[in-house]
């Protein structure tokens, strides 16, 4: 008589447990998906490709020619100002690079796997690339802070190459998207494009 009663209570507890677990699972924040993360990803890719990574822009920010030109100046004050200004710009560049890479990572976490159907191996490789690049950005910021804009040319090169690789992978993941569809999402966020 006692045994069926215990069984009933246990079953009852298990059922309650399942409901509680389902409740908390349903309340767990979902990774960002849909048009919002897609637009964020596209904006980050544009910022990287058009503003942060073009060789001509990098040549200007980290230009040795400018450094040599100012180094000829007898005035220590002007040289000091130049190095201070370049360090400020280099720090902003590294910060912005990190922010855009984080945006791209959010896009990949939230939606890329649904659209591009990346393989597990590619996803792991991509995750490691994001991780190493974000670490590089932190190292760069530290180096710029301590040694100035001209103190880490190799690390800048590594970061740029790694960013370009991630941009290329992200671009492939987004390649199915047409500009017109993105435009229609930005003009009317309520509307979800067919592909989404």
């Amino acid at each position: 008589m006692i045994s069926p009663m215990i069984q009933l209570i246990l079953t009852f507890l298990v059922v309650i447990g399942v409901f509680v677990a389902l409740y908390f699972l349903s309340r767990r924040p979902q990774p960002a998906g849909g048009s919002e993360s897609l637009l964020e990803g596209r904006a980050a890719l544009n910022a990287l490709q058009r503003e942060l990574l073009p060789p001509e822009m990098l040549d200007r920010i980290f230009s040795k020619v400018d450094h040599e030109y100012v180094s000829q100046d007898a005035s220590a004050a002007v040289q000091g100002l130049f190095l201070k200004e370049r360090r400020k710009i280099a720090l902003s560049w590294a910060h912005e690079l990190q922010e855009q890479i984080l945006s791209l990572r959010r896009f990949h976490l939230g939606s890329a796997r649904f659209y591009a159907r990346l393989s597990v191996r590619t996803e792991i490789k991509l995750a490691l690339q994001f991780l190493s690049l974000l670490f590089l950005c932190r190292v760069l910021r530290g180096l710029f802070f301590v040694r100035g804009a001209y103190g880490a040319p190799r690390v800048v090169g590594y970061a740029v190459a790694a960013s370009a690789r991630i941009c290329s992978i992200s671009e492939n993941a987004m390649s199915f998207l047409k500009a017109a569809e993105l435009d229609s999402v930005s003009e009317n966020p309520q509307r979800t494009p067919m592909l989404l």
Binding site: E56, M57, V65, D66, Y69, A74, V78, L81, E85, I89
Partner: protein, 160 residues
């Protein structure tokens, strides 16, 4: 007007502006300042009477904005030495005393309102930073120039 025909008009208006007006303005710095001056600071729209007689206001606005972005890009990618040279020549043609000019630009930073509206922060800050350094170089030259040759400072190398 379809987007394609509008774009064609914008390209035509831009070419017209480059051929008739901008080709006579040699330095990118002067072009940037001129094009920024055609923009209404209250609305952000560009106006040009000559072009408006041939194209719609919308087309004129976009053509001027395109040219403005191009001039900005040219100046942005100019080496620092080139920017200093452009500023020195600009001062020469401004009919202002170099000392007054440098003092006013350092204080008011008028170049901050000359950038196209959709410029990203880092790019704009980079150009402002270059202006700041260029002004410091010109100021240093002014303080060391010989009194007998008042214009010689324009053509000095920094080492001089």
């Amino acid at each position: 007007m379809t987007p394609v025909s509008k774009r064609m008009d914008v390209v035509e208006a831009g070419d017209d502006l480059r051929r008739r007006t901008l080709s006579h303005i040699k330095r990118p710095l002067d072009r940037l300042i001129y094009l920024a001056s055609t923009r209404d600071y209250n609305t952000g729209f560009y106006y040009h009477d000559g072009l408006a007689s041939r194209f719609s206001q919308e087309v004129v606005c976009e053509a001027l904005a395109d040219c403005h972005r191009q001039a900005f890009r040219e100046l942005l990618l100019s080496p620092l030495e080139n920017l200093v040279g452009q500023m020195a020549e600009y001062i020469e043609t401004s009919n202002t005393s170099p000392a007054d000019f440098v003092a006013a630009w350092k204080k008011l930073e008028p170049y901050r309102v000359a950038v196209p509206v959709d410029t990203d922060l880092l790019t704009a800050e980079f150009l402002f930073s270059n202006f700041k350094i260029a002004l410091a170089i010109l100021e240093a030259r002014l303080n060391t120039r010989p009194q007998a040759a008042p214009d010689a400072w324009l053509h000095q190398s920094p080492a001089q």
